[in-house]
């Protein structure tokens, strides 16, 4: 995909010889309006041209990797939310799948679908944020407002499923917290309709907008070889024409069964990255729609034998006095935070692996085995305990390959958790992208990097 609009100005024009020019050092950041994120760039300028740039990161280092060693395996999941906080479910999923690989367990198919649906929704909201914020930095403020509006619809969707808007902590080792709610397909279709409208609007506002195209196309160019050498993946790499997408090339979960295309650019500039992201949103919606159609059990798990519903507290009381007859076969009416994890759906969202996943609430409340099972799994040191070993598991994050490298020493907490943060590689190439360009090109280039501090500095 390319546009036929070429920049009119010659960006390599140099100053007339008689003008006296001096080198200037310009410090940008750590807090700067044109940077949605905390980094510092020290640029050496010749007039308006960037001669060299030094990038300083680490301002949001929160010791994710160290914290992950101090909590149990499930306790790491909230920390993974806050790595790439624009698309938390993808992080959740990557981490959980890495630990599942280490444990050697496989989650049920429906659970895979649920994870895929939620992570694609996060991917859309990530791209919306990225495109919106970088457009805003170029002065297109209304695009930002529209895109955040669309994101808000998606977040409502996410909230319906997970109970939280942003930091969802949705996946668990060996499953997900809860199944999709009863009425998911319909609001999902509505939210996508709104999102499509916004994307169309943005196409109308930006894609052929002279100012926007002039600033985006031909700036921040990187070649295929350089991109690979820097280890760049994701939309950034695809904008150069390399068709690498973990979902296609090393398929995980059920991506090999879902229909989607991988959009690629050809010139590796900001414009292509913008177009790739815009197209990816459409593809993600396609994935979700197909997944909702194909998932076993349908969008709402039809379950024939739901027993009588008893309020959870009552169930506990009956179990305490040993009135097993009254509660056998019954299903617990549980609070809104746990909805979707009833016994009837439990088997379809959690791996059949008692050593990893909590029992359904009916068992926890209703019998002593279930109670002990639950109790032991949540006790520090008794929970998930993978055998000694090391694994690496990559998933396609919104910015590229998001890999988790987990080492276990057989105890209750991970010995080492390492994230391969996709935007780390891109940021390390930032000086290369900036040098030779104009000062003003820095803004769109930095915007298209989609730097996410939580993931970059961890």
């Amino acid at each position: 995909m390319t546009t036929d609009l070429e920049p009119k100005t010659d960006k390599t024009q140099s100053a007339p010889a008689e003008l006296e020019t001096r080198e200037m050092m310009l410090n940008i950041g750590p807090a700067h309006p044109a940077m949605h994120g905390i980094i510092r760039i020290v640029a050496k300028l010749d007039g308006e041209k960037i001669q060299s740039a030094e990038v300083e990161i680490g301002y949001l280092h929160r010791a994710f990797e160290k914290m992950a060693e101090t909590v149990d395996y499930n306790g790491v999941i909230p920390y993974t939310d806050r790595l790439n906080y624009c698309s938390p479910v993808i992080n959740n999923m990557g981490y959980c799948m890495a630990v599942e690989k280490l444990l050697g367990i496989e989650v049920p198919e429906r659970c895979h679908y649920v994870r895929v649906i939620l992570s694609e929704i996060s991917r859309i909201s990530d791209h919306l944020t990225c495109v919106g914020a970088s457009a805003m930095e170029l002065g297109a403020f209304s695009v930002f407002l529209y895109m955040i509006k669309a994101r808000e619809y998606l977040w409502e969707l996410v909230e319906k499923v997970t109970g939280a808007r942003l930091t969802v902590t949705y996946c668990r080792v060996g499953g997900v917290k809860a199944d999709l709610p009863d009425d998911f397909a319909e609001p999902c279709a509505k939210a996508f309709e709104e999102t499509r409208k916004v994307i169309d609007e943005v196409h109308g506002l930006l894609t052929r907008n002279r100012i926007f195209v002039d600033r985006m196309s031909g700036t921040g160019v990187i070649s295929q070889e350089d991109a690979i050498s820097y280890g760049i993946t994701g939309p950034f790499l695809r904008s150069t024409g390399v068709e690498y997408d973990v979902r296609k090339d090393c398929p995980y979960a059920v991506y090999d069964r879902l229909p989607f295309d991988v959009p690629v650019g050809s010139r590796g500039d900001n414009m292509d990255r913008y177009l790739v992201r815009m197209e990816e949103m459409e593809q993600s919606m396609r994935i979700v729609e197909a997944a909702l159609r194909d998932m076993p059990g349908g969008p709402v798990l039809v379950n024939p034998e739901t027993g009588r519903a008893i309020p959870a507290a009552e169930m506990v009381d009956l179990a305490k006095v040993g009135n097993i007859a009254a509660i056998s076969g019954a299903c617990a009416k549980i609070g809104p935070t746990l909805e979707g994890s009833e016994k009837a759906v439990h088997a379809s969202i959690a791996a059949d692996e008692k050593r990893a996943f909590l029992p359904p609430k009916e068992d926890t409340y209703g019998n002593i085995e279930g109670l002990m099972h639950h109790f032991k799994l949540v006790m520090l040191g008794h929970g998930v305990r993978p055998p000694q070993g090391e694994v690496y598991f990559p998933v396609e994050g919104a910015n590229g390959e998001l890999g988790f490298y987990v080492v276990s020493d057989g105890s209750g907490s991970a010995y080492r958790v390492r994230v391969r943060p996709p935007c780390f590689a891109i940021m390390s190439a930032l000086p290369k992208l900036l040098v030779g360009g104009m000062m003003a090109d820095m803004v769109p280039t930095f915007g298209s990097v989609n730097m996410i501090g939580g993931e970059l500095d961890r």
Partner: protein, 192 residues
Amino acid sequence: MNTSLIELVKERFPTAASSSHTYRGDETVVLRRELLLEVARFLKEDPALQMNFLMDLTAVDYSTFGKSPSPAFFASSGVAVSPSSQIPDKDPWPGPPAEARFAVVYHFYSLKHKHRLRLVVPLNETDLEVDTLTSLWAGANWLEREVWDMFGIRFRGHPDLTRILMYEEFEGHPLRKDYPVNKRQPLIGPVN
């Protein structure tokens, strides 16, 4: 892909690998550090391998491996939560590198052949230095700086081995196991 990557590496460098394994499908070669640069170049350039991506570069401090007290558990509860032999595992994990405190871990990926390989280079605490890969992959630059910052492992020939995530005034290397998790070294404000 018929022959395993491990075989290819071993064939070309019979003395380089001290051991190798395929645990959970991840092919791993444990390497003597002297040959790292050559093996890496071979991985990158050999037509059968063509590992053009250096996906990840990190390190592990194995000094407390297996030393965290294994909590007692009630075998009678009916819930087996300890590591179990029931988990299928063809090629067992050989354990951490013997007699080496640190291990530098490289993950490579080939765009063409779509395969991955992990290299592990064990390092003794007395001599924490390994060759840099910046001449082969530009992306190694920051990754190596991060390993230096977090673990204090030096990379011979690195153009600018300085801290990247922490600040210059910071003392110690926080991801080492002997660095307490909440030992703060603030630039301003009280210590806690």
